[in-house]
């Protein structure tokens, strides 16, 4: 029964495959960022590409989708999100001839009992804590002392964004000798709706000046609130300034560019198989967008200065605190709403 499909595969198929995590291809977050990298590279080089949505969010379904992509002709499969760790752990040996680009994770078993990365897998982590740090630093430096953080869900990447944000605000607060407060909450949802808007409106009504929202599409609702309250938003992942006037800056991580780069390397024969990379400031993997015009006092120069300190290691951002409450802060009060 297996002969026939193979014929079809020879004839056509999609050479670059991407398997989405929960959420869709336009989630304003890791799926979309990675996908845009795939599209950019494939279009530029005349390659075929396709994405696959697993039927459910389970390791088995992820593997199934990966298999489907491979049988559909994929020579390289991009899997964005830490949920894929277990699936890639198995897929890397099941399909040794296929290359995998795994984002936000490195392969391990679902119960974290075994870690192993084969030469056909390139794992990319991002230093979200540095990106969040820069955003928090810039906001306080710009004169804001009352901030908010809304995370989509307490997954590692989002947690790192938030922890970095707090530390950045703390450093600026210390430098300026001001007291900063931060409301800190996880929405447990990535979709825009009234609940998030009301939540944000509430925060704004009690003086919060800017909310850093690392929650995909839910950010749109926070922006709607900011417009209504005439307050600010800090975007996430990509430069979101085009979505709303209220977005003063965005804590970016180079999803798109890193995927594009990884694909370029692969086709150039330099695939970083077996490597677990963390893209941080030193390689330009994370940062704020170049436009600082929506700040009042924070400038490009201020940014460059703090960025350099991160690069040099003069300033170190803690990325693996157990809880935001464990971060050593003195000038910053974090009010955690709900659990982390």
């Amino acid at each position: 029964s297996s002969d026939e499909p193979e014929v079809v595969e020879e004839e056509k198929g999609y050479e670059i495959g991407l398997v989405t995590d929960i959420g869709t291809i336009d989630d304003k977050s890791f799926n979309q960022g990675a996908w845009e990298g795939v599209v950019a590279y494939a279009e530029a080089n005349g390659l075929t590409y396709q994405y696959y949505q697993p039927a459910a969010a389970s390791t088995a379904d992820y593997i199934e989708a990966i298999t489907l992509a491979i049988e559909g002709g994929a020579k390289v499969v991009v899997t964005p999100g830490f949920m894929f760790a277990g699936a890639i752990y198995e897929a890397q040996t099941m399909y040794p001839e296929v290359n995998f680009i795994l984002l936000d994770a490195d392969p391990h078993t679902d119960d974290y009992s075994a870690f192993k990365i084969e030469s056909n897998v390139y794992s990319i982590y991002y230093a979200e804590e540095q990106s969040g740090f820069l955003a928090g630093y810039a906001a306080v430096k710009d004169g804001m002392t009352n901030l908010g953080f809304m995370g989509g869900m307490a997954v590692p990447a989002v947690v790192r964004f938030g922890h970095g944000f707090v530390q950045g605000a703390e450093l600026a607060a210390v430098e300026l000798d001001v007291d900063v407060t931060i409301k800190y909450e996880y929405l447990n949802d990535f979709a825009p709706n009234d609940n998030h808007k009301v939540k944000a409106l509430g925060w704004y009504s009690e003086g919060v000046e800017a909310i850093f929202v690392a929650a995909g599409g839910a950010g749109l609702s926070v922006m709607a609130a900011a417009e209504e309250a005439d307050k600010k938003v800090i975007g996430v992942d990509v430069d979101q300034s085009n979505l709303s006037e209220t977005v003063i800056t965005s804590a970016m991580k180079g999803l798109t560019s890193s995927v594009e780069l990884a694909l370029t390397d692969l086709y150039a024969g330099n695939f970083k198989g077996g490597v677990i990379d963390t893209l941080d400031v030193t390689v330009g993997g994370v940062g704020l967008p170049a436009d600082f015009s929506r700040f009042t006092t924070f400038t490009q120069a201020d940014y460059d200065a703090i960025f350099a300190k991160l690069v040099s290691g003069e300033v170190v951002v803690v990325k693996d605190a157990a809880s935001v409450n464990d971060l050593a802060v003195t000038k910053t009060t974090v009010t955690l709403i709900g659990a982390e």
Binding site: T24, I25, D26, Q32, V39, K183, E185, A191, P192, N193, D194, N195, H196, K197, V198, K199, L201, G202, W203, S205, E206, G217, L220, S221, M223, A224, E227, E228, L243, S244, T335, I337, G338, A339
Partner: protein, 318 residues
């Protein structure tokens, strides 16, 4: 005080769409057709309304544009609901069947079309959200009501109240309303006095489709700038509000307000006042649902459900 004002103001985005959609459901159920497709019709109406905004962003000045889009949503909701009417009235099918089918269809339909019409083939359809009215001259200065109703408001709020008043007038003071109610209570009786039960039921479902379609857009517009074909269960909540509101406009608005207020409280756990109470967030999260259940426990003893709702009309049946 500020907290209270905040709560009162922000219950409107929940209350208005829930009211409008529940009123829609009321017309359908009062005519004898249970409409669990409210969710799907909301999705569909909002979808067509948003596509309209997407394709003709600058057709009209903002407020006119919103009204035009609402009309588009209303018409498309009504047309979509015809499918439900046909199955429930002509085919005498179990009314859950077509309701479920419509719910399933609407979101996939939106995604299907969105993938075709958007440049990158994505689900989210962007629209230009320029419909907020920051202040209304004079009205905004009225104490209490000004900030609650007339600042940062949307015309949809007033449309919602308009629909409420019209609905209760139509239902209780007109010939149409009397006949519609008769069809939902005792269709055989209505038939025996020469009322065309099937036609009334069609009209009931059509009104529900129109209001649900419009309600979908009313829900979506203030909360985002991009629509992905979901209304997050609000159609089902509207169904709950309809039951909670005992199928009467005056109680539906109260039920919607109650639910809206609870929902606002639920999302206000981060406000200083509520933080100071020291109650875990979990309790705020479940408050709208638990409070509704508790209130229902004490108010449901007498059910006011239209007697014949849910049963296909069969002239021979006693």
């Amino acid at each position: 005080m500020d907290t209270l004002l905040f709560l009162l103001k922000n219950m409107f985005p929940y209350m208005i769409p829930l009211t409008v959609v529940a009123l829609g459901g009321m017309f359908s159920e009062r005519s004898g057709i249970v409409n669990i497709a409210l969710e799907g019709i909301m999705v569909f109406g909002a979808s067509i309304g948003i596509f309209f905004m997407y394709f003709f962003p600058d057709l009209l000045p903002p407020q006119m544009m919103l009204i035009a889009a609402l009309i588009v949503a209303l018409i498309s909701g009504a047309i979509f609901s015809l499918l439900h009417a046909y199955a429930s009235v002509n085919l005498k099918a179990n009314q859950v069947i077509s309701g479920t089918a419509l719910n399933l269809f609407a979101t996939s339909f939106h995604v299907f079309v969105a993938r075709i019409v958007t440049p990158n083939g994505v689900e989210g359809v962007k629209f230009n959200n320029v419909y907020r009215i920051p202040t209304v001259p004079f009205f905004s200065d009225i104490p209490i009501l000004g900030p609650i109703l007339f600042t940062n408001t949307y015309i949809t709020t007033f449309i919602g109240f308009g629909i409420l008043f019209i609905s209760s007038y139509v239902l209780f003071k007109t010939r149409f309303g009397l006949r519609l109610r008769a069809c939902g209570e005792h269709p055989q009786a209505a038939d025996s006095v020469g009322i065309n039960v099937n036609r009334m039921r069609y009209i009931g479902v059509l009104i529900s489709g129109a209001l649900a379609g419009m309600g979908g857009l009313i829900l979506i517009v203030p909360s985002t700038v991009e629509y992905t074909g979901v209304v997050s269960g609000y159609g089902f909540l509207a169904l709950a509000v309809l039951i909670f509101g005992q199928w009467r406009p005056s109680k539906i608005i109260l039920a919607a307000a109650f639910f809206g207020l609870m929902q606002t409280i639920s999302n206000s756990s981060g406000l200083n006042f509520f933080m100071s109470l020291g109650i875990p967030k979990y309790f705020y999260q479940i408050v709208p649902y638990v409070a509704t259940l508790i209130v229902l426990t004490f108010t449901s003893k007498k059910s006011a459900a239209p007697k014949a709702a849910g049963e296909p009309y069969d002239p021979g049946k006693r």
